[in-house]
Symmetry: C2
Subunit: 222 residues, 2 copies
């Protein structure tokens, strides 16, 4: 699968020299990662800049004792910078990136991307904007954690999952929700049962069905 229009992903494409463009075209590879693939983090090597054709990636923090918190998601047409975080010396945290759905993407090797950003101010500034976007998402999350009560965070999570899936029936375990929100399974179960008693959701084994998204939405706004 060849990438035909680089400007879709790299807005600085036309500001590169023909030689730089050729280098990128030559070294870009197409990859497929089935759902569940660990793309980055832990013992995986520095992957490079990921240009997502289709699918869904999840970036998360992983604690020493195996707890998780989802930082952000990347979807079709998004560019993943932290899979190339080895090129940024000052990044001193470990992020984990997994394919949350079957994902197809193009990969620009880290060494080449580093070289291009060193040569091209436009590429370097684009990298800046990418990082600013992710930074903003993490700051939003931080505010949620610090200042939003858990009922609101859970309601927001369920609504955004419904949006992502295009369905009100979510195939997700309480354990998985707990990992997303960085809390314990029991906390999630208790709140989901409360939501069920209020008629907001319907719980079955391995699924959560949102039955009253209006009320959930209202909850997030109070």
């Amino acid at each position: 699968m060849e990438l035909t229009d680089y400007t879709d992903y790299l807005p600085f494409w036309k500001q590169l020299t023909p030689i730089q463009q050729q280098q990128i075209q030559k070294e870009t590879t197409f990859r497929q990662a089935p759902k569940g693939t660990l793309l980055y983090g832990g013992l995986e090597e520095c992957l490079g800049l990921i240009l997502i054709r289709s699918g869904q990636l999840r970036a998360f923090l992983l604690s020493q004792d195996g707890r998780e918190i989802t930082l952000y998601r990347l979807l079709d047409r998004d560019v993943c910078l932290f899979s190339a975080s080895c090129i940024l010396h000052s990044i001193q945290f470990d992020i984990t990136i997994e394919a949350e759905k079957d994902t197809e993407f193009w990969l620009i090797p880290p060494g080449l991307y580093k070289k291009i950003t060193e040569e091209s101010a436009a590429a370097a500034n684009y990298t800046n904007e990418l990082m600013s976007s992710r930074f903003s998402e993490v700051m939003w999350l931080m505010e949620q954690i610090m200042w939003k009560s858990f009922d609101k965070r859970l309601a927001e999570f369920l609504l955004s999952e419904c949006d992502l899936e295009g369905s009100s029936l979510l195939a997700v375990t309480h354990e998985k929700i707990a990992n997303h929100l960085g809390t314990a399974r029991e906390v999630v179960t208790r709140m989901l049962r409360y939501f069920q008693s209020e008629g907001f959701v319907k719980l079955s084994r391995g699924t959560v069905e949102v039955t009253d998204s209006k009320s959930l939405k209202k909850l997030t706004e109070t």
Copy 2:
């Protein structure tokens, strides 16, 4: 007060053209901010790149109902990027920056710094590294909040304050500590009293004296 050696602050200085260097020299101004000055955030306009000569700045998040959490501190010789965050379109969070001690700094106007990063890949990459550093600090904080119990966070805070102040006697109220750590005053008071009963600290009106830093240190490591 004229800045004589820009390379101390801007490692890309020698990669700039003579014209770019002259522009920066011409537009850099010296400023003084007494302790307590709000430098950035809220209704303040976009300030620019701050090069700290001496003093201490605190960057924090402020919630709608006035709660705070300290993100990071900047000290002598540090460069503050987020006081120029208006030049990064993708930054979508509001950070507040105040002088926590009397602070002297040089200021490069945001428009000029933006122009320089657009022209110079070295300057743009330096901006990237600056942002990576701050991002790393925020991620560290996130992990602290998510996964460290409050006794450890408080112990770490007290020890790092002693380091910053060069003294084991801290003139700080419980309210202020609560703001730093994003929690309620009562939570801080309760834990400080526990620390006092263990002989780690001695409390007086408006001060906390660390009397057993070894045990506090041990606490942070368990």
